[in-house]
Amino acid sequence: MTETISSAANPVIKRVRQLADRKHRRRQGAFVVAGRQPVWRAVEAGWEIDTLIAAPDLLAGSAAAAMVAEQEDRGVRVAYVSAELFGRIGSREGPSGVAAIVRSRLAGLDELPTGAGAVFTALHQVGNPGNLGTIIRTVDATGGAGVITVGDSTDPFGPAAVKASMGSLFAVPVAHAPDADTFFGWAAARGVEVVATSGHAPTEHWRAAYRPPLAVLFGAEGSGLPEPVLRRAGTGVRIPMTGTAESLNLAAAVAVILYEVRRPPG
């Protein structure tokens, strides 16, 4: 019979804590996702589940409880924990009763589908994990082909990014280009047009012609895209702003542009 873990010293619980740290995520090639819907999406999308963590008291009779039982039947390791312990490892917005340690899976640039309608979102040196997660969610909602982080970037598998993505992380391919050269090299080889966003570009974002396959490239909040990177893009677009320069949040700017790219012609 299964026993319920109630000690914070349990190795599974200790691992969950460790995986909040990027160094441990890299070393173990795994990360933590919490919540019924996000865990369900990880399972559905076929991500490799290392361990499911379930609090039977919180799940009683739910669809999530059935999902956990089904996964256990298929040989997935399940750690049952007390509701009290789950509350300490779960999120602040109330414990959902299920979490998972999932094997990290970054897409390779070469695996990205660069077909006719493909729209990529490329983020140069994105630093805020909440923004990255929200952007992955927006890309999912707009049917985007993937997200590419370029250069030094925050980890898409970090707790704040995973949480903000609301499970979209499991549906949207996320690839990493170590530098701008690699990114532009990939785009050129695959015939993907790069549209750069900049506060100084002459073209308003709703006047540009978007011809997929394309990648919209965004700079970090505050600093934007560096001049040499900007120059290498085929087109530049600007979101008109009346307030303080750079006042739009990065995730909001991505939403506005991706919606515009998707606007039906006419």
């Binding site: 999912d140 009346t242 909001a252």
Partner: protein, 275 residues
């Protein structure tokens, strides 16, 4: 005084009062808001905020940030230099940068808002996450919106995390807080139409006319907008979804709808410049 510091004891009564200002009630009682961080302070000052007092830890702050000292004392605010341990006690950030200002509370009265000829407003119902409200304020700032109104519950616009997430926009964009019924009648009296953004809206976003005097209403992600808004709205709009996500983040949705309105306004102005 040690090393030119004014306060080195965490037991100092002013420090105790400052710590108490983390609570909403105390802030409301004193009618103040806290601004922490050099970048946020810089933006608040640029938006015309006049601090009452500035707490500063020279040990924590970078040398090239000193310009703020002159700007603040030039405005007549008191500058209090405190030790690193004292600052750590008053800071709410995990890694404080040595700057914390007490500023007058943001005015949130509905009646004082001034609406131009063809105003664009945002109404947030039940949106409570400071990160989302901050991002929405920044969108409103970028779009030149007349105001952002929080309703049900009436948001604490002075929440330090919200002040931080707004990057100072909470000081440059007029904000208000009032119950839904009051906001609805206030808008109606001023001839401002309501467009409610909801996943089951009647009209696709691009097909709705958003070029007149308009308030865009958004709701919290899990509950959405209440019937009070969807039923009394002049139009309910939905953002087309192309993918698998069941919904967008509320700040992302707000940005999409607001920018559709901005686009229609600019196009209309350019088509009929004489108007």
């Amino acid at each position: 005084m040690r090393g030119g510091l004014d306060i080195t004891s965490p037991a100092n009564p002013r420090i105790k009062r400052l710590v108490a200002l983390r609570r909403r009630r105390t802030r409301e009682l004193d009618a103040v808001t806290l601004v922490e961080g050099y970048a946020e302070l810089d933006l608040a000052l640029s938006a015309g905020v006049v601090p009452q007092a500035l707490y500063h830890s020279p040990e924590l702050a970078h040398g090239d940030e000193r310009d703020v000292l002159g700007r603040v004392s030039g405005l007549g605010a008191e500058v209090i230099r405190v030790s690193k341990p004292v600052f750590a006690k008053v800071a709410y950030r995990e890694s404080p940068d040595g700057w914390l200002a007490v500023v007058p509370a943001v005015d949130t009265g509905l009646e004082r808002l001034e609406l131009g000829e063809r105003p664009l407003l945002l109404v947030c119902e039940g949106v409570e996450k400071p990160g989302n409200l901050g991002a929405i304020l920044r969108t409103a700032d970028a779009a030149g919106a007349a105001a952002v109104i929080a309703t049900d519950p009436v948001t604490d616009w002075g929440n330090p995390n919200l002040v931080r997430a707004s990057k100072g926009a909470v000081f440059s964009v007029p904000v208000a807080a009032a119950p839904s019924a009051r906001v609805l009648s206030w808008l109606a009296e001023r001839g401002v139409a309501v467009a409610a953004a909801t996943p089951d809206g009647d009209v696709l976003l691009g097909d709705a006319d958003l070029s007149g005097p308009l308030a865009i209403a958004v709701g919290a992600e899990n509950q959405g907008l209440s019937a009070a808004w969807t039923e009394r709205a002049d139009v309910t709009v939905r953002i087309p979804m192309f993918g698998r996500a069941d919904s967008l983040n509320v700040a992302a949705s707000a940005a999409i709808v607001v920018y559709e309105a901005v686009r229609q306004r600019l196009l209309r102005e350019r088509e009929s410049p004489a108007r």
